[in-house]
Subunit: 205 residues, 2 copies
Amino acid sequence: MAGLYDGAVQELIDELGRLPGIGPKGAQRIAFYILDQDKADVEALAAALVKVKERVHFCEVCGNITESTKCAICSDPRRLDSVICVVEESKDIVAIERTREYRGKYHVLGGSINPIQGVGPEDLRIRELLQRLGDTNVTEVILAMDPNVEGEATAAYLVRMLTPLGITISRLASGLPMGGDLEYADEATLARAFEGRHMISTPLN
Amino acid sequence: MAGLYDGAVQELIDELGRLPGIGPKGAQRIAFYILDQDKADVEALAAALVKVKERVHFCEVCGNITESTKCAICSDPRRLDSVICVVEESKDIVAIERTREYRGKYHVLGGSINPIQGVGPEDLRIRELLQRLGDTNVTEVILAMDPNVEGEATAAYLVRMLTPLGITISRLASGLPMGGDLEYADEATLARAFEGRHMISTPLN
């Protein structure tokens, strides 16, 4: 129902509707919420949007987002220099950090190889990874790409590039999600779970 | 996981998380989307937020949102002056306009009577409604408050206030939603549907 709202309200609804996960109804709901808010609160939101674009850039070492030249993880002396976990995006780092299992460093590729969207290896931070591996004493590279076609292609490409370097390369396990239900697992996941099965005991006969 | 993100990103996630319908995951997703966007696009969104607060105010006649002194509906000579539909919020007008059934004018109360949240009749635009009814030749007032406790209380209050004026007062019908399933209707809705049942035919015997 474009036109029912006057200019500025419709403009805001359109702008909000472009954000991921916000449909036309959600955009309208947020626009009316904004109309009800104090001007100062709305200006704070607008300022936060502009500020994030002005201040945040990429860590010169790993490509993670940061407001300094080096990100918090790269600057942390307690993190191991010998292991690098390669991820597609900065938000993957947050997911891994949440497990509190990993104590090494990261390398953010900035995406995955996707010929359909015209993303090739040269568009990712792979050259920077190779240079980093040449400069430092890394003993293991963990490939933590997404378990989908693009992630697999990217991992396969990296395996080809890194194998000559004589560094241990590993890939995160695929299989049934914890708390999930085998009955509802898709075929690809279930096939991976079979492939990656662990031996629990082997009879000696 | 506060602290994992640097200042400006976390600040933006917090600001976005305050908007209705956006949870922590959605706020994170939008923040990373913003980081990927061109600076000009983000500034356009920020400007739209500020602009809506600067330009949009309430129609001096009906209380609908507008950028002029009178809203588009109040200024439209094709709309009937003899019927006023009283709604709680401007967005209710949009929902009613979508039906293309109503050709009269509106009056926005700006909420409903809600003692728990401290909203009394004096906080709503009821005085303005009475004055408007005094000044113009309105023959019918349609009460289109939400069919909930607060809406019912507001409608009951308005009936008391308007009855002495000798104007026809009507209330939108409550009942089973179209396309709905009787089996899944809640008790209150079903009770209303019985109460408001229409006679289809009456035997003459």
